[in-house]
Subunit: 252 residues, 2 copies
Amino acid sequence: MSIVIPDFVGLACMTDETFALRTGLRAADAVVREIEARIVSGSLADGAHLPPERDLIDTYGVSRTVVREAVARLASKGLLESRPRYRPVVRRPGVDAALAAAGGVVGHLLRDSVGVKNLYDTRILLEGALVRHAALQARKDDIAALARALAANEAAIDNSELFYATDVAFHAVLYDVPRNPILPAVHRAFTAWLAEHWVKMPRSPERNRVNFLRHRDIFAAIQDRDPDAAEAALASHLNAAWEYVRGTFEGP
Amino acid sequence: MSIVIPDFVGLACMTDETFALRTGLRAADAVVREIEARIVSGSLADGAHLPPERDLIDTYGVSRTVVREAVARLASKGLLESRPRYRPVVRRPGVDAALAAAGGVVGHLLRDSVGVKNLYDTRILLEGALVRHAALQARKDDIAALARALAANEAAIDNSELFYATDVAFHAVLYDVPRNPILPAVHRAFTAWLAEHWVKMPRSPERNRVNFLRHRDIFAAIQDRDPDAAEAALASHLNAAWEYVRGTFEGP
DNA sequence: GCGCAAATTTGGTCATACCAAAGGCGATGC
DNA sequence: GCATCGCCTTTGGTATGACCAAATTTGCGC
């Protein structure tokens, strides 16, 4: 299985050991770029398995050490999905991969309430802009989607588990309105990162009902094309939720 | 040099070879968690050098292969800064590290104009919220900082290179107002990611002057505590800039 | 065909070796 | 006494080869 190797790194024409020397120190990086190119070019299709390491060894003329390092680096970049014992799976880069890559560090930033609050405030800021945008720009089908999400939310008031899911789904619709694929991904990231603390929040049908009513306020303001009211309702909603989350942190 | 090892992974008490087996397959991950813990606990201070690989080998009782993989993974998480031939430097996790981790994938998303537009639209959305926030909440010293940035911007009109820097700096002040460390980091990330395309944008003192005037409009609206005007000025400013950037992409 | 066991692949880890660059050390010269 | 240069040691980057256990494939028997 011989592949056509792009010429920006003259990999094909160089013999084994001189590899590192020529590229100016970085054998693995060169392999990374090679495989990267094959992924974006589609030569390695999304969802396909990466060839076995021993094949890559003689495809690129490097040692297994280097191949493995390259694979690890590609996995950390989100271009490969590598479960412990299985063959790595090719993943074309997407927004979710980018945010997942950030996730590893974000975990550390959320160890104290300050970090959580910062992230949550950022979310409030962004989501405030989103409800304004929705109030001004939402199309009929966006409003309809919001209405459906709101109805599902109301129907789940007595089921806190389900209520949480429909709560998230309602907010998700707001991120869909601008039809910018980055935004839904950011919402998924926010949700995933904050979920750990969110689930600790005390829940009850009464609380759920209050939250539903806030959602209804937001929806009504959007329907009325009133961005200020929509933003105010959202801010009030999210800030109230923070008070509950804050209580889950130990200390004064 | 024997260190106290946290107990959530019983590393200290297990003998070498059974390592991978007990942890359920993942020697490197266990080492990652160990070193991670030492970094957040401060046992490995920020800016310090990581011990030599050969030391880590017998500190953790694993092979060099595993140590190197662990180091690589920590570097990709932003906890270590590892230049090719040098000793890795410890970096306490920060927002910038999180965004830098995402940077690897973001590069791929910005290969076509659609990806750039999506990112840029996201920035417009967020920055719109920021100018609104500034108009409503900015303190005297925030306004003063904006005024200084604006003056520097005006003074650089005839120097396109310097103008770009002061342009970025002016916008940066907007991200500082909420005093949320995430936001300045996001601005740095936006700037770094979009810089590649931005620098291709044709520049001239005339264009600089127009941009400066837009900045002045934004500043005036903030000073007048008029969020709607501020947001409108910003949107107009950024959308106009996009028209220029868009031209740098090959046409259909 | 189909399921199950044996044989083969293949990823994870270890051990060892070599090279070249980085870093430390001592001699040299001012 | 201090700065500089060069040698020696340390240390990271890579290559090899081996072994194990899990994953996958093969193929046998039903």
